[in-house]
């Protein structure tokens, strides 16, 4: 069982690095969708059995529905309308973002040993994966020019925080977990609408055009 969990964590980190490198939007969206699916499986694997199964099942199914199915569908629709295929050169360039991503992951692993985790048993890789994903998400938001990529970055940030949330499954009541997922869903939904309007207004999703407001 532990090997499977390690495999999932490693795969999540690999997807992080892949998204940083990919210049094609379709590939990036599919990768994030895969990451969402993987993360929705995690609660089932990690749940300690004395916990009532209903809560965990609901949580993972909800995550799967939102992260793996609905959000990618929304992203693909946005790309289709904007008729854009490829990310233009990001602000700090693909190669440097790759390097920064790698450095981030290394730091995450080094740093997580120092954190005094209350219940060490969970899994060695959980905290570093969470921190790495959060770091990659931040990097994407800050460096990418296309609005779609910024939303992907935000999504990855949420995934990282979601992984962190797994540690606290038992005393985050189901209602709050559902709230967090619902908020994520609503956030991406509103971002989708706004992207749709940006595309209609600026006929492109390039955030470089969004610089009119000056002091």
């Amino acid at each position: 069982m532990a090997a499977w969990i390690d495999m999932v964590f490693i795969l999540v980190v690999v997807i992080d690095l892949f998204t940083l490198a990919s210049s094609r939007l379709n590939a990036a969206i599919r990768a994030v969708a895969l990451q969402g699916a993987l993360l929705s499986v995690l609660p089932l694997l990690l749940a300690s059995w004395e916990h009532e199964i209903g809560h965990v099942l609901l949580l993972s199914l909800g995550a799967l529905a939102i992260k793996a199915i609905f959000i990618p569908w929304l992203m693909f629709r946005a790309i289709r309308e904007a008729a854009i295929r490829r990310e233009v050169e990001p602000i700090i360039g693909f190669v440097p973002s790759m390097i920064l991503g790698g450095v981030g992951v290394a730091l995450a692993f080094a740093f997580s040993r120092g954190l005094p985790l209350p219940s060490p048993e969970r899994h060695a890789f959980l905290v570093p994966t969470a921190l790495a994903t959060v770091w990659t998400g931040l990097l994407l938001v800050v460096s990418r020019k296309k609005a779609v990529n910024q939303v992907l970055g935000f999504l990855m940030l949420e995934n990282g925080v979601f992984v962190f949330g797994l540690l606290l499954a038992e005393f985050m009541p189901v209602m709050v977990e559902a709230g967090v997922l619902l908020d994520l869903f609503a956030a991406v939904f509103v971002m989708g609408i706004v992207m749709f309007h940006i595309n209609r207004e600026f006929s492109s999703l390039d955030t470089e055009k969004l610089t009119a407001l000056k002091d």
Partner: protein, 476 residues
């Protein structure tokens, strides 16, 4: 009573979305606001026991912010009747529905005692506000909406991370293992110190972004500059005050865990930085709505300084959050009227507002005097109490800088506002039919009279409320 106050606006919001007729949809707004105000009055009369095993409970701090926002929302609802009738060229389905959802989300923030639930409610307010900023349907407001959405979501995500850190702090064996503020405060010293510190930093940045403190304020000038005056009033008067409330709850937990030494310095530092930045960015500002945004940054700085100083300054901070709500309401609604009547918000082609708008012009000037701490308006008393907290306890540098920035802001803001209000409006673009009507001029006037009344005679019940809120949060 609490679930009613949360659900009624939500239900009305849904109905507003469904309502086909564009002309009389704003009435839902009025009904929602009235119901909410009635609910609040009920809550003032009868003390409510905690609900959902401690998740929802209206404590003193929550009551202060909710009262201010309820009053402000009622005034804005009346204002909206006149405003939306004038803007009937645009579909207000999203606007009215969004506002009602925003009201219920804010109420939830006010009563949430569980930090996770608090985070969910605050994220909901962000999402409810974003489409409203885009009400003017032009490129600039779209850019403002996008920036608001992304920066705030980023901040809120960090706040979620902070909340999880706080949960981890309590997750050690023997710890409270819960995110209820009551449990965390009772556990207090048992929380693990490093996690609480890390949590406070992330939560300060998260909710600080939502509040608009100094380095995290970049979304504010764009959002307030492009949003309609009505939304600007609600954002600067309501939403940011609730972010301050969330920060106060986090500070409450921090103080219980014995970590408040650093927290207070961070709050005072960020507060003074916000005031400094507002002073620099307000000088020679040609767009009076963006200037009001920087004034909001300054007043959030004052609230942070008030909370950070502790002792007798904290009741002043809560009094100031009430005053800020009301006076910002006056300023933004009056600015909205002026903007619509002149068709522009740049001081180059807006002059003589006092002559063209006999109520909104002088109100804009009176609001400016109130906001910059001129007696007999009530913000003077709250700012004086905060200053007394600083200078009284020997922190002369903090007091000195506080006064210096207040003076600089008075001069910067004064030049802009006087350019708008004074002189005669010959040669400025005139848009007939957009003058002062009863519905658009009465609400800011009523708010101004309330601010003046609070300045002359602060009711005993309100003063005790601030005292108990301060005792709850900072144990002064």
């Amino acid at each position: 009573m609490i679930p009613i106050v949360i659900l009624i606006p939500l239900v009305l919001g849904g109905m507003a979305f469904a309502w086909p007729e564009n002309r009389n949809r704003p009435v839902f707004l009025l009904v929602g606001a009235a119901a909410h105000a009635a609910g609040m009055a009920g809550l003032w009369l009868r003390e409510e026991p905690p609900l959902l095993d401690g998740f929802l409970f209206l404590d003193a701090a929550g009551k202060v912010t909710l009262t201010a926002t309820s009053a402000l929302f009622l005034a804005c609802a009346v204002y909206a009747q006149g405003y939306l009738r004038r803007r009937d060229d645009r579909d207000n389905r999203v606007f009215v529905g969004g506002l009602l959802v925003l009201l219920s989300a804010l109420t939830m923030v006010g009563v949430a005692q569980h930090l996770g639930l608090l985070w969910v409610a605050i994220e909901l307010t962000t999402l409810a506000t974003a489409p409203l900023i885009y009400f003017n349907r032009n490129a600039r407001s779209l850019e403002a909406a996008w920036k608001y959405l992304l920066v705030c979501s980023l901040g809120i995500a960090l706040a979620l991370l902070g909340t999880f850190f706080l949960a981890l702090a309590g997750a050690a064996p023997g710890g409270p293992r819960s995110l209820l503020v009551g449990d965390l405060v009772r556990a207090g010293p048992a929380l693990s110190k490093p996690w609480v510190r890390a949590a406070f930093v992330f939560l300060l940045v998260g909710y600080g972004t939502k509040m608009g403190l100094a380095p995290l304020h970049s979304w504010k000038p764009d959002a307030y500059g492009e949003a309609p005056g009505l939304l600007g009033a609600l954002l600067s008067g309501g939403v940011t005050s609730f972010a301050f409330l969330a920060l106060a709850r986090v500070y409450q937990v921090c103080r219980a865990a014995g970590e408040d030494a650093f927290a207070r310095d961070a709050l005072v530092g960020l507060g003074l930085l916000s005031m400094a930045l507002a002073a620099v960015f307000m000088v020679g500002q040609r767009d009076f709505k963006r200037m009001l945004a920087y004034s909001s940054v300054e007043h959030m700085g004052i609230l942070a300084v008030g909370l950070g100083l502790g002792g007798s300054a904290v009741p002043g901070a809560f009094f100031h959050s009430l005053n800020n709500g009301l006076s910002k309401g006056v300023l933004f609604l009056a600015a909205g009227n002026i903007h619509r009547s002149f068709g522009s918000k740049v001081t180059d082609d807006v002059r003589g507002a006092a002559r063209r708008l006999p109520v909104s012009g002088p109100l804009f000037l009176a609001g400016f005097l109130a906001v910059t701490g001129t007696p007999p308006f009530s913000p003077f008393f709250s700012e004086f109490v905060i200053l007394n907290g600083a200078l009284g306890t020997g922190r002369y540098w903090v007091g000195g800088l506080f006064l210096l920035f207040m003076a600089a802001i008075f001069i910067g803001m004064g030049t802009t506002i006087l350019k708008v209000v004074q002189g005669d409006d010959a040669g400025t673009p005139s848009r007939p039919g957009f003058g002062d009507s009863w519905l658009t001029a009465a609400p800011p006037l009523v708010l101004m009279l309330v601010v003046l009344a609070l300045g002359l005679w602060l009711p005993r019940s309100l003063a005790d409320l601030f005292q108990s809120a301060a005792h709850l949060v900072a144990g002064s």
